[in-house]
């Protein structure tokens, strides 16, 4: 394989994107009608891309596994979306947003991509407002901003605690309009099973109709994967039950490189695990940390008493409380970035200071802010979150401190893409959380929504057009072609192979086992020994899975267990790659913390000398991956140690 | 439905006004005069046609909508719905049907007599049907009065939901006025039936 070419345009950073747009190739309206694009996923990136491409005049087919495109998991994002509008006049700018994102990502993201992200952030807000997204407003009618996730400026736009929902519904409405106009064809309850490659270019997909179980062939001049992240490899995560990494894993097997798989983000404010039967973890917005103070008991015996239910949080006197974030990071206190906050909580719990029945929780206390601001203000700000907490935990958070624990939330890693968001397979584009591009080793709060919509509304419509300008002479390829038949046959064989196992253990059993291995060994604190152990355990589990999984029913009908098995089979391989990448990266940065590489204070010890690159993995065969490196070159910024003290 | 309903509710006020004439101890002079006026005045005749139209449309549309509503859930739930809803709101079609039956009885006793479809021995000096006597004859029978009272109470139930519902359908819903609409509707749905009920009670108990 040749050197990775990111195709970053030349020229000064701030004019790269406009230069790209000025010089890119266009497709005339008559030809657009003759070009088909397949989009997989209807989240922020997928829906916005499909809607925009449909508006431009392309023929779009869009797929989602849910019953409606409106259900994609972008809907669950709570906090907000960043933009460099500088409405509050607090000194924000495109450069600052760019800089904060690069720094927040611990200098492991591609500079030009991040700059472009910051550059188009303002247009996203314009677009969403025009669509009727009900952002929060000031009394004067102007848009309200808040500070979020450790930023020193207020640049986050929000719609109560449901920003993701509102942005997704905005994209969904734009998509619905195109569906009505006939430019986009919707395939709901369809799962992409594989990509079809003809003469080295992505030309379509094999999809499974989840209701009939039928395999379908779909042609496209280009294919866009916007299927989200792979956090469910950990089983328990804040992802939706159906969120999966199969689309990206299948294209990985077909030649798309997978970048930085070990960069997974653990979110600090989730509701702790309460039992074995638990199916997912519920996130509570990071904004809670604006007014809540995080603490554990100072004395181990107090923590132990609390775990046994003998000592209530409120009975622990002030002097015996350890506000460990405020103690360790006086400048940022409870508002340090997610990776830092998560790790600090884990460190306390591991040291024996954890609270709650499992000992895997820390307190998030609002007593002080309720005293200072009044219960009303807290209720106005976080009422829905408090209510949600009470519903789940059955405890009143106005009176007792909340209990929180970190949970897997977001995956910064993903399919390697160049500046045009094209993977190493020609004509195969990847957008949103599914790609690796903009967040480096750690994503800042309110940046995921920004990236998803940037890719879909403002990047892909240009770069895809540039690519398709070279495809205008390619007539629609019949799906009877051998490559389609061959790919479909492979998919069928795989499903039949799964069905034929007829073992004794359920899919969920294996998924939970995998999750445990991942969380314990490839979670927040990683060591060489544990990572090696994880790889071994995963391999063993995978072999067992292929021998002993039990799937009822047949592949030719609605078969939820088969759907799950197919996804878990991919996670089984993916977990190994994550561990392998984590093993290879002998440094700590962002969400990737290797215990061997830390400062004396227990902070990330980055190694820019040896690891300032994107690790792009190539698939050779099962468990056999080859590493390619894309060096990260920073022209505009000085690489510094990330300090939040 | 809502517009027709509001129209019919206004009519009820007029109807009650006339009925209350029965309470005057004048041997039915006022009441019969009113009945005479209602039966002969040409403007009233025009309104009568509109009123009948209103009734028929209200019943017709109500029936069609109800059939559509039943059809929109071809397979029913095993467990009947336990959602909290205002008790009477779900039974408008049934209270409506009862009111329709009542209306037919009512027509037999009064309106059809004027049309001469039903024979009637009570004649006033002017040779017109003496509706005062007819009413008196009916109301002094406890069974009839009781039935009348029950049916009027059911009418009250129908009206109670009808009033606020009509405004909701017309789009009149504002936090500042919703309270008033509900209050007024309830008062209306109590006062109008009370007025009607008072008449048989008067004939039965007081006179």
């Amino acid at each position: 394989m040749a050197e990775l070419n990111a195709k970053v345009p030349s020229g000064p950073l701030s004019s790269k994107w406009s230069r790209y747009k000025d010089h890119q190739n266009l497709v005339n309206p008559n030809n657009k009608r003759k070009l088909d694009i397949i989009v997989v996923g209807t989240g922020l990136a997928g829906a916005s891309a499909a809607a925009s491409l449909g508006e431009m005049g392309f023929n779009v087919k869009i797929f989602c596994y849910q019953d409606s495109p409106r259900r994609a998991h972008s809907i669950a994002a709570q906090g907000g979306i960043n933009a460099a509008k500088n409405y509050p006049n607090d000194g924000d700018s495109i450069y600052r947003l760019f800089y904060d994102t690069i720094k927040g990502g611990d200098y492991r993201a591609r500079e030009a991509n991040v700059y472009r992200l910051a550059e188009v952030s303002n247009a996203i807000i314009d677009q969403c407002v025009a669509q009727g997204v009900p952002f929060a407003r000031e009394y004067g009618g102007s848009l309200e901003n808040r500070s979020f996730g450790g930023a020193q400026v207020s640049r986050t736009f929000f719609a109560r605690g449901q920003t993701g929902q509102q942005l997704l519904l905005g994209a969904y409405s734009a998509l619905s309009r195109q569906i009505k106009l006939g430019t986009v064809k919707m395939f709901n309850r369809h799962e992409m099973m594989d990509v079809v490659i003809i003469d080295g270019k992505a030309r379509g997909i094999i999809a499974r109709d989840l209701i009939t179980g039928k395999l379908e062939r779909h042609f496209g001049h280009a294919v866009v994967i916007a299927s989200g992240g792979y956090g469910n490899v950990f089983y328990l995560s804040t992802n939706a039950m159906g969120s999966n990494g199969s689309a990206i894993w299948q294209i990985f097997k077909k030649g798309a490189f997978f970048a930085n798989p070990c960069f997974t983000q653990i979110h600090p404010t989730c509701i702790p695990v309460h039992g074995d039967y638990q199916s997912k973890l519920t996130l509570m917005s990071e904004s809670l940390r604006n007014d809540g103070r995080i603490w554990v008991p100072k004395k181990k015996e107090d923590a132990e008493a609390n775990r046994k239910g003998k000592l209530k949080a409120n009975d622990i006197p002030e002097e015996n409380r350890d506000y460990f974030l405020e103690r360790r990071y006086p400048a940022f206190g409870n508002l340090v970035p997610r990776d830092v906050a998560s790790r600090a909580a884990k460190e306390r719990c591991d040291a024996g200071y954890g609270v709650g029945p499992t000992g895997l929780a820390v307190f998030l206390d609002f007593k002080e802010s309720i005293g200072r601001l009044g219960k009303n203000v807290i209720e106005e700000r976080y009422g829905n979150l408090f209510q949600m907490y009470e519903k789940i935990v059955d405890e009143n958070p106005y009176e007792n401190p909340m209990m929180i624990y970190p949970a897997v939330h977001y995956t910064m890693g993903g399919v390697w893409v160049d500046y045009e968001l094209m993977s190493t397979v020609t004509g195969l584009f990847v957008a949103g959380e599914a790609n690796f591009s903009d967040h480096g080793a750690n994503r800042l709060g309110a940046s995921a929504l920004m990236q998803g919509l940037a890719d879909g509304y403002f990047v892909l419509p240009y770069t895809l057009q540039n690519y398709l300008s070279g495809e205008i002479k390619v007539a629609r390829i019949s799906t009877d072609k051998t490559e389609f038949a061959e790919t479909e046959k492979n998919v069928r064989q795989r499903l039949e192979k799964l069905m034929a196992i007829k073992g004794t253990k359920t899919v969920d059993h294996f998924h939970k086992e995998l999750g445990k291995i991942m969380w314990e060994n490839v979670g927040m604190g990683r060591t060489e020994a544990r990572l090696k152990k994880a790889i071994e355990l995963i391999r063993k589990l995978r072999a067992e899975f292929w021998k002993d999984v039990k799937i009822p029913g047949t592949p030719d009908e609605l078969n939820v267990e088969l759907e799950k098995a197919n996804r878990v089979a991919d996670f089984m391989e993916m977990g190994e790659l994550i561990a392998l990448d984590a093993l290879d990266r002998k440094e700590s940065c962002g969400g990737h913390f290797r215990e061997e590489y830390q400062t004396e204070e227990g902070e990330c010890l980055r190694n820019d000398q040896d690891y300032k690159y994107v690790a792009a993995w190539e698939y050779k065969s099962e468990g056999n991956f080859v590493l390619h490196k894309e060096p990260l070159v920073y022209e505009e910024i000085e690489v510094k140690q990330r300090v939040y003290k | 439905m809502s517009l027709l309903g509001i129209f019919l509710m206004i009519f009820l006020v007029v109807h009650l006004g006339i009925n209350l004439c029965l309470l005057r101890s004048d041997g039915g002079a006022w009441f019969n005069a009113a009945a005479h006026f209602m039966g002969t005045n040409y403007i009233v005749k025009v309104f009568e046609v509109i009123l009948f139209g209103g009734f028929i449309l209200h019943i017709l549309i109500g029936t069609i909508l109800q059939i559509q509503n039943w059809m929109s859930r071809p397979v029913r739930y095993k467990v009947t719905n336990k959602t909290y809803t205002p008790f009477l709101s779900k039974y408008m079609i049934y209270t409506g049907i009862i009111i329709l039956i009542f209306l037919l009885i009512h027509f037999m006793n009064f309106y059809f007599i004027r049309l001469g479809w039903v024979s009637n021995p009570n004649i006033t000096a002017e040779g017109e049907p003496d509706f005062y006597l007819i009413a008196q004859e009916l109301f002094v029978q406890p069974a009839y009065s009781l039935l009348y009272i029950i049916l009027i109470i059911i009418l009250g139930f129908h009206l109670n939901h009808a009033f606020q519902s009509a405004w909701q359908t017309l789009g009149v819903n504002h936090p500042q006025y919703n309270g008033f609409i509900r209050w007024f509707g309830t008062i209306y749905a109590i006062l109008i039936p009370l007025g009607f009920i008072f008449i048989p009670l008067y004939f039965l108990l007081i006179r």
Binding site: H73, N122 | V79, T85
Partner: protein, 246 residues
Amino acid sequence: MKLILKIWRQKDAKSSGKFVTYNLDNISPNCSFLEMLDILNEQLISQDKDPVVFDHDCREGICGMCSLYINGRPHGPDDAVTACQLHMRKFRDGDTIIIEPWRAKPFPVIKDLMVDRTAFDKIIQEGGYISVNTGGAAEASSILVSKKNAELAMDAAACIGCGACVAACKNASAMLFVSAKVSQFALLPQGQLEAKERVKKMVKKMDELGFGNCTNTYACEAECPKLISRSNIARMNREFFCAKVS
């Protein structure tokens, strides 16, 4: 906890279904309702039986995919939550729980408890949007929206499209769902230009699809997990009349 479950089982859209009774034991009160069904399914699979199919995805009450009619109430006995956020502590040990799919003509059953709600998508496709192309938007600060209207629009926009309103309504009416979308745009200046066409088209589609009529029983409002107000229905009626007469 011990539970007796009576669940609607239906092989596919064409088959006729029936209730099947299952006994479950050792359920933690902290378990969510869907986790309880997961446990049931694990048991069914190990007994070589077909697991119960039900729609679910985010399990945090926002995607709107879960759709269970539990003991006579959409999303079960707790107020203002979806079935995924319902916890077993809301039931008593030994309870019999009857689980049915949403029932409405426009929501045909696909399998067991899974129904087809694409009718909602079709209504949105008729006009549940503001026609603005990507890139054609004006500077966001040029559009001012009063805080009050922004809040009301957000109240309406909070709808998750789960269909509990239809499931609860004795007429299987979709008025609350449709009015939430109509209201959101009617309250915002951006939505004004298309307002009349929007409400007419969406209402027409809703009727075509076979949803029932609104008789103002407000069961929809009582069951809405996002507390969408009936005032949206009134607003839609208002918009509809105005659109029809002008």
